[in-house]
């Protein structure tokens, strides 16, 4: 057993992190809130970097890597709250022309009848007829709902990649909280000196690291039960993490300008994918009797 990143995997992660830091930093994130639509140039850059073609075999012009690498890349995307139908387009690479290269944007109708980024999509997978726009709680994820959509089978890879994004967001929430706890002073000391704040931050780390082990392992085994577990842990780490991060920020956390709200709202959107976590819970319960 060598349950740690290989040299190549670490290099891949560093490369993606560097690309995103350059092309989608905190300032770009805030700016994206005020514009509608996707940055197509960035989408193509992601394509050129192999974001979508990552798991397409080399023989078919892809990068030829596997799920563990995809999970690392999606974790980085979740960390910076990269907008767009990343999972749907990634899954379409190799099946839909131009998806792998980042030339087209692909949206998908989710099991719960939810479609992200429908108006921006060049190609829609699934039947989106009759879709109605929601006023999305997440300013960076336009949403439609297809009433009466027949439940589609959930692709476990989609579930896992979503869990990876949640993991990234959970990690980011912890980092932001720690940063604030170190610098914000009340009662003559950094608030991080108060055990109440320390413990909030520590819990964020514990949840995120537990989720990380579950997500990475599920990427290696690709076992549906492992993936179900990863999903539940990652949803919790992201949602609770964003909330605790908000709490550590005090009044500032409740403002529109603060990045924390974007973490929480995206975590809420992702937690609803595939009809929510209920199916994963059922799968894990049944597994106990197997």
């Amino acid at each position: 057993m060598r349950f740690r990143l290989s040299g190549d995997q670490a290099a891949l992660r560093a490369g993606v992190r560097e690309l995103l830091a350059r092309r989608f930093d905190g300032e770009a994130l805030r700016a994206a809130v005020d514009v509608s639509g996707l940055d197509r140039e960035l989408w193509r850059e992601l394509g050129a970097a192999g974001f979508f073609a990552l798991r397409v075999p080399e023989a078919d012009g892809g990068v030829g890597l596997g799920l563990p690498e995809a999970v690392l890349v999606f974790e980085e995307a979740g960390r910076v709250l990269l907008p767009g139908p990343l999972v749907a387009t990634h899954l379409a690479a190799g099946a839909v022309d131009g998806a792998a290269e980042g030339e087209v944007v692909v949206a998908g109708v989710d099991r719960g009848g939810l479609v992200e980024w429908l108006d921006e999509a060049d190609v829609v997978r699934g039947d989106a007829a009759g879709a109605v726009a929601l006023r999305s709680v997440d300013p960076l994820t336009p949403l439609h709902r297809v009433p009466g959509a027949l439940p589609r089978a959930v692709d476990p890879v989609a579930v896992l990649l979503t869990a990876a994004e949640q993991l990234g967001t959970a990690t980011r929430a912890g980092e932001l909280a720690v940063q604030h706890a170190r610098t914000r002073e009340q009662f003559g000391q950094p608030i991080g000196a108060f055990q109440a704040v320390k413990h909030l931050c520590a819990q964020m780390l514990v949840r995120a690291e537990t989720a990380r082990a579950a997500v990475y392992a599920a990427a290696v085994t690709a076992d549906p039960v492992d993936i179900a577990a990863a999903r539940l842990l990652a949803d919790e780490a992201a949602e609770r993490g964003a909330r605790d991060c908000l709490q550590v920020h005090g009044g500032m956390g409740f403002t529109w300008e603060c990045e924390v709200q974007l973490l929480l709202k995206r975590a809420w959107v992702r937690a609803r994918r595939g009809g929510g976590g209920a199916e994963s819970e059922e799968l894990l319960a049944v597994d106990l009797l197997a």
Binding site: L114, Q186, V197, Q247, G250, T255
Partner: protein, 377 residues
């Protein structure tokens, strides 16, 4: 132990209920949440209606039990919430009533009761939130005025307020709790600049208030110079006292609506969700009983709410967040749609563990003042 109300109290309830049934259908439609002038007019209009019917003073003069009945019945009937009147009726007003001179009471209390003037609370500063006593907004004496310079933040209703209950530092050399003074500042005074702040729900519910050499008459000081901390504690105990009675009633109504919605959309068949609704019901039934308990305690102790308010606030703010998390489960995918009123309520519930003293600070209060544990730094 006795949970029955007296015949007088029951009579008050019956009369109030009857009056509400006649007056509520005559009210104008609720204004849009974004339209501040309209909200101000609506909230003040309701206060005027209460005034004309003899109910205006219930927050101040009535016994805690009568107040409880008032808040319970108005909420249950769907009457307007105090809204823009909150600070005037529940913070500044009670403070002036308790600590002001006769002239100050005559000047400020009647317009609050008649629904003519709106107050806001200028306590928090960028560097003084949980550590309120560290506030730095300076007031220098100049003849019959204080000259005030500094900035306040998170000031709810600042844009539509006529008056601000303002905490300033008058004794910079004194220990931090002993150099603070309570002033009533007119928001129209030269040098006051209000910059609205957007909340995570997208609307501007609070603001930054910048003060540059603002002249406030010494006559507007409530309490002695440098005695503002004690004066403030009176106000805060009101804030943590019965201020949430109506909300508990409202939460219980929402819970019933959630159950009915779940029945309609099929989520009721999920036993996990059903039981979670049941548990939340237990929570709010208990919070209602805790409210009654606290009111009885306040009645026995002469009206000023005590530390029981911290126990209530801690439990309630978390229960409220859980309530709207359950709502999200009931709504499913629609919990991502801002057109659903419960989604906005879910967002605003996130402020409950922060505003009016964070949960961490409340736990410190419970541990130190109720349990008598050693004070941390």
């Amino acid at each position: 132990m006795d949970l029955a109300y007296t015949p007088e109290e029951e009579e008050f309830r019956a009369r109030l209920r009857e009056w509400l049934a006649t007056v509520l259908p005559t009210l104008p439609p609720k204004p849009s949440p974004q339209d501040w002038p309209a909200r101000r007019a609506y909230d003040l209009g309701w206060q005027r209606t209460l005034y004309d019917a003899g109910y205006a003073q219930v927050h101040w003069d009535a016994s805690p039990t009568t107040r409880l009945i008032f808040l319970e019945e108005t909420e249950a009937a769907g009457a307007p919430y105090v809204g823009a009147g909150f600070v005037g009726l529940l913070h500044a007003g009670p403070t002036i009533a308790a600590e002001g001179t006769p002239a100050q009471r005559d000047r400020w209390l009647p317009p609050i009761l008649r629904g003519e003037e709106v107050w806001c609370q200028g306590f928090s500063e960028p560097d003084a939130g949980s550590d309120l006593a560290a506030l730095r907004t300076r007031a220098r004496r100049d003849g019959d005025d204080y000259v005030v310079t500094g900035s306040k933040i998170w000031t709810s209703h600042a844009e539509i307020a006529d008056w601000c209950e303002l905490l300033v530092r008058t004794g910079p050399a004194a220990p931090k709790h002993r150099g603070i003074t309570w002033l009533a500042m007119p928001m129209s005074a030269p040098g006051v600049v209000v910059r609205p702040l957007r909340t995570l729900a997208g609307s501007a519910e609070f603001a930054e208030v910048f003060l540059d050499e603002v002249r406030v008459p010494v006559a507007n000081r409530v309490g002695e110079e440098n005695d503002g901390w004690r004066v403030t504690m009176v106000t805060l105990s009101f804030e943590r006292g019965t201020a949430f009675v109506g909300e508990v009633v409202a939460c219980r109504r929402v819970l019933g609506e959630l159950a009915r919605t779940a029945r309609e959309n099929g989520r009721w068949d999920d036993p996990v969700l059903r039981r979670r609704l049941g548990r939340t019901n237990a929570e709010f039934r208990a919070l209602w009983r805790l409210t009654q308990w606290n009111v009885s305690e306040a009645e026995a102790s002469g009206g000023v709410p005590g530390v029981g308010g911290s126990v209530f606030k801690l439990r309630y703010s978390h229960a409220r967040q859980e309530l709207y998390d359950v709502a999200a489960e009931v709504l499913g995918v629609e919990s991502l749609d801002l057109e659903q009123p419960w989604v906005l309520d879910r967002l605003s519930s996130l402020s409950y563990t922060i505003a009016a003293g964070t949960s961490q600070i409340q736990r410190n209060i419970v541990a130190e003042r109720i349990l008598g544990l050693p004070k941390g730094r």
